[in-house]
Subunit: 263 residues, 2 copies
C-alpha cells in the first residue's frame, strides 16, 4: 500500500478508504480542514463513568460525538469505525493486547464509542500563521508524554494527564497560544509552556507515545492536553475491554475544522 | 421571611442560607457575579442517558458540574443541594407532583445531580453594556416557552427545546448577541431573533414557564436556549423520579460568572 503523494489534499472519505484497505500510517498533515478525532470504545457499563470523566476533564477529553451502543457510524462519520482508522489499540484489563488495522473481530453490540477532539485541528491554522510545526516538517508522529498531573476521576475511572508537545520558536509562542485557544473543542490553549520537569517529564527525547521531537535552537516546548489521556486512564483503571485509535493514527471524520473555531 | 433590600449584593452563601430558611423567590438579579445554575436530579440508571442528552444539546444543557450518586454538595456548591434552592419541582413518571422548598423527604442515595449553566449569568454584562433587561426592571421572572424544535434524543430521553425570551431594543440586538456569545457555557448566543411563530410560539403573552414579558415599543424578541429544557424532557420521557429547581428559582453556586467568559 503506497502513501499518497499529497495526503493533505485527500478527502476524509478517500483517506478512510485507504485505511480500510490496510494502510497504517500516522495521520498528522492528512486531509487539510477535515477534523481528526481520538476515539475510545468501552462496554456500556463504563459509558457513564467515561462521559463523566470527559466532562470533568474537557481539555484532554473534548467530546465531539458519542455513538450509541453497537453503532459504528454517526453524524461525524459516514464510514465504519471498525475499519476506517489506520491502526487501533485493543486493551484487555488495561493491558495492550493487539494493534490491529481493523477491530471487526473484537466488535460487540454493547460497545459505546466516544469521539474526542484532536490537536491536529489547529496545526493547519498554526502553519497558516507561519508557525512551524516541527514534526510535520520532518514527517514524524507528534511526541506525547504521560505527566505527573492527575485528571479528575469519575466513578471507576482515574489516570494521569497526557500531553502532546510542539517546539515553538520563542517569538511565536504567544501566537501559538492565541491561535490554539480559538479551538476549545480540540484541546484549545496549551496547558503548559516551557519547563517539562514541572509537568513531571524527565526527558523530552523519550516520549511515551509517538516519536521523539525535533527541537531547534530558540524553540520553547509547548504542551497541549492530549486525547491519548483516555488510554493512560485505561492502563490504570483496567476496564475489561477498551478499543482506541493508536496514538497519532487518528479517525478522520466528516466534520470540518472550521466548525470548532470560536471567534 | 423578608426579601432583602439589595439581593444583587448578597454573597452566594448568604443567599443560600435565606433559601434554606424557606425564602422562595425567583433569583434573577440576585448575587451579582455569582453563577446561577439549572439543576436536574435523576436516578443513576438514567444518568448516562441524561449526560449524553446534555452532550448532544449543549446550548440548552451546558453542564457545569455533575454530583456523584447521593452527593448533595460539590466543587461549585459548599451548601446542600436538597435545601439551598428557593423552590423545587418534583416529577413522578413525568407528572409534576410537588413544588416544595426543600427535597429532604425525596432524597435517595442513588440520585445523580447535574448542574447546568443559566442565562442569568450574562444578564449582568448586558446591563453593564446599557442593554435593558426588561423582566429585571419590573421585578418579574423571565418568560420561558416550549418551542416546536426537537432536541437530539439520547437513549430513553427526548423532548422539545425550551427558550427564554428577552425583548431587546432593535439597535442593541447585535450587541446582545455579541455579549452573550462570550458565555458559551451558559447558553451562549441566542438560538433565534424575532419571529416567535417560526419557533412554534403562538402567543408571547402566554409563556409556559415564568411570567409574561414586558415588551416596549421598538423591542425585538430575542430567544436563548433555556435550562428548563430538561423539565420539558422529563414531562415527555417520564422517568420514575426527577427533581429540578422551579423555573427561575435557581441554585446560586460558588462559581463566578467570569469563569465562564471566553475572550
Amino acid at each position: 500500500m503506497q502513501i499518497p503523494h499529497d495526503p493533505g489534499s485527500l478527502s476524509a472519505a478517500d483517506a478512510r478508504a485507504l485505511f480500510r484497505d490496510g494502510l497504517a500510517v500516522p495521520t498528522t498533515g492528512w486531509c487539510a480542514g477535515s477534523t481528526q478525532a481520538n476515539t475510545i470504545t468501552l462496554p456500556k457499563e463504563y459509558a457513564f463513568d467515561f462521559l463523566l470523566f470527559a466532562q470533568r476533564n474537557p481539555k484532554p477529553c473534548p467530546v465531539l460525538d458519542v455513538l450509541d451502543a453497537g453503532e459504528v457510524s454517526g453524524a461525524l462519520l459516514a464510514g465504519d469505525l471498525r475499519t476506517d482508522i489506520p491502526r487501533y489499540r485493543v486493551y484487555r484489563d488495561g493491558e495492550l493486547v493487539d494493534e490491529p488495522t481493523d477491530v471487526l473481530a473484537y466488535w460487540r453490540d454493547d460497545l459505546v464509542t466516544f469521539l474526542l477532539g484532536c490537536s491536529f485541528t489547529f496545526e493547519h491554522p498554526l502553519l497558516a500563521a507561519g508557525i512551524p510545526v516541527r514534526h510535520l516538517g520532518c514527517g514524524r508522529n507528534v511526541p506525547m508524554y504521560v505527566t505527573g498531573r492527575r485528571c479528575r476521576s469519575a466513578g471507576r475511572l482515574a489516570g494521569p494527564l497526557v500531553v502532546s508537545m510542539r517546539p515553538i520558536p520563542a517569538d511565536r509562542v504567544a501566537d501559538a497560544v492565541r491561535i490554539s485557544s480559538r479551538y476549545p473543542a480540540v484541546h484549545g490553549a496549551p496547558v503548559h509552556v516551557g519547563d517539562p520537569r514541572s509537568l513531571g517529564i524527565a526527558d523530552l527525547d523519550r516520549p511515551e507515545f509517538g516519536e521523539p521531537p525535533v527541537i531547534e535552537e530558540g524553540d520553547v516546548p509547548v504542551f497541549w492536553a492530549c486525547g491519548v489521556t483516555p488510554q493512560a486512564m485505561v492502563m490504570e483503571a483496567r476496564p475489561p475491554l477498551a478499543i482506541t485509535h493508536a496514538p497519532g493514527y487518528m479517525l478522520i471524520t466528516d466534520a470540518r475544522d472550521t466548525q470548532y473555531q470560536i471567534p
